[in-house]
Amino acid sequence: MTKDILYNYTMHLADNALILAQRNSEWCGHGPVLEQDIAITNISLDLIGQARSLYQYAAELINAPSPSIGGGRGEATEDSLAYLRDVRQYKNCLLVEQPNGDWAQTILRQFFFSTYQYLLYQQLQKSTDDTLAAIAEKSLKEVTYHVRWSSEWVVRLGDGTPESHGRLENALEELWMYTGELFAPATYEAEAVTAGFGVEVSALKAAWEQKVNEIFGEATLPDAAAGGREGIYMQTGGKEGVHSEQLGYILAELQYMQRAYPGAEW
């Protein structure tokens, strides 16, 4: 039972990292300036690295003798978990699957997510589960950089030109409704807290808002939850597998080779 929770919890963390990595990697070769092409690819690489560690751990959990989780397709591996689950099995939050849009939208998505992930991993380092704690600790350095880089860009765009300011506001319009889900615990997150190894995400909200508002201040934007966004309804569902229509297309591309050539080694 605890193992089921641990598995789901780990998969959620892994899916978040993989889907955002996949989205960011669409920029590779198409960035607005070479240095930033490199930077966003770097973040993508960090996130794939995190995803791999987490999937590997989840695969271990599945493969260890215990009947309840049910891998189905033989020995689970990081690749079977990433490439052979369909939309309803994916547990990432809605935020990370949203389209790249323009650079402002990509930056803001990264800033929202990295700020959350930073706070999450800070707590997760202290998890009673040693593997999760170790992965969080190792990833925290990377995430610290992601927060810094995306914060700087939010400020640069917000306090840049009228056009960049406007585009950042549009991005906010697109993405704000997906931020609430980060702090609304899914079943397995609540269970993971009870079981002792999970982080209480609702408790991260205040610190997250503080950081967002601090950076928004520098970016000459009103507070994120102000400026007409006070009452915006927060979308949820992704963490429980009820996604937007975006994810199906992401998976069709991501998984093509493993689906088309079942059982092959690469």
Binding site: C28, V33, L45, R52, W103
Partner: protein, 319 residues
């Protein structure tokens, strides 16, 4: 000093294998040749990101995805080193890029072929990077200092890339029949274009002679190509695959592989802009640049504001 005297100093340095540095006097034609060649090289790195980038989203395992992403990122880095090297010669990155987009500057024609299957990513790494490395190893000893130093950094990474490409093909060659077919098919399509990467025969090469005198180039197109054939003809055996050339054969006399004649009509056709992807590649680069304009402007505007604020702050502190 007279131009003659300056030129003598310049040629003496070349003779004595002393690197030419940005502040040194150099003949206009030397500078021009270098700008043309280095910027072409830089553009090749950047345009070269596209055919490989085409498979990042579909890489068949997470490990391969990470390796490919890192590789394409390295190419962006190489582009940066090389744009910096052209800047030491007095040409801005922006101007260099404008020349690419207008079609004035060239890039390696190999990147005008499409990557159709995952095996192509292996073949590009093995053959295309393999061919590039031979050229680059030579350029580590080129006479212009910043170019030579950029090449030293690039070479280290490129040989790593070539091994990774070969490793992709090794996995395919040990795989299912479908994978082996995919592997052979990619080799068939990339072999001849990669031979073309070394450029026309020495007898046809217009820029080569002067470049050799100035020690920009240190081996001829045909010498490098032969080296490449000799290397690949051996490596392909490890894969249990073949090269698509009925004339390929070890020659005991020359101690080299003989090989068939390149289709030069195809070569010149692609150079002229008629390759399968010439339009798509340039369109993609232009689109990235144009759609990034507002981002670059925002960064510039913000930097200016920051600077102005800092100066104001300083004035206050002084006053």
């Amino acid at each position: 000093m007279s131009v003659q005297e300056l030129e003598k100093i310049f040629l003496d340095k070349i003779d004595q294998e002393i690197k030419i540095e940005p502040k040194d006097w150099m003949p206009d034609a030397y500078r021009k040749t270098l700008v043309r060649q280095i910027s072409q090289h830089a553009h090749s790195e950047i345009v070269g990101m596209l055919p490989e980038g085409n498979w990042i989203g579909r890489a068949p395992s997470l490990k391969r995805k990470a390796i490919l992403l890192a590789k394409v990122q390295d190419e962006a880095g190489h582009g940066l080193y090389l744009y910096s090297a052209t800047e030491t010669l007095g040409t801005t990155r922006e101007q260099t890029i404008v020349d690419l987009h207008s079609g004035k500057a060239k890039y390696s024609s190999i990147f005008n072929y499409p990557t159709l299957t995952w095996a192509d990513i292996g073949a590009v790494g093995w053959l295309v990077d393999g061919a590039a490395i031979l050229n680059q190893v030579m350029l580590c000893r080129t006479s212009y200092g910043p170019y030579a130093r950029a090449m030293v950094r690039i070479c280290k990474e490129e040989s790593f890339h070539q091994r990774q490409g070969f490793d992709i093909l090794v996995a395919l060659s040990k795989g299912t029949q479908e994978q082996r077919d995919m592997c052979q098919d990619a080799i068939n399509r990339w072999w001849w274009p990669s031979l073309m990467m070394f450029g026309p025969h020495d007898s046809e090469s217009t820029n080569s002679e002067q470049s050799t005198k100035w020690k920009i180039k240190r081996m001829s197109n045909d010498e490098l190509r032969q080296k490449f054939v000799d290397m690949i003809a051996e490596q392909v055996k490890v894969l249990n695959m073949t090269l698509p050339d009925p004339h390929l054969k070890w020659n005991e006399q020359t101690n080299h592989y003989d090989f068939g004649e390149i289709n030069w009509a195809e070569f010149w056709n692609v150079v002229k802009g008629n390759g399968p992807c010439n339009k798509q590649r340039l369109d993609a680069r232009r689109k990235a640049w144009d759609e990034g304009a507002w981002v670059r402007e925002a960064a510039t505007a913000y930097a200016a504001k920051r600077k102005a604020r800092a100066e104001k702050q300083e004035e206050k502190q002084i006053a």
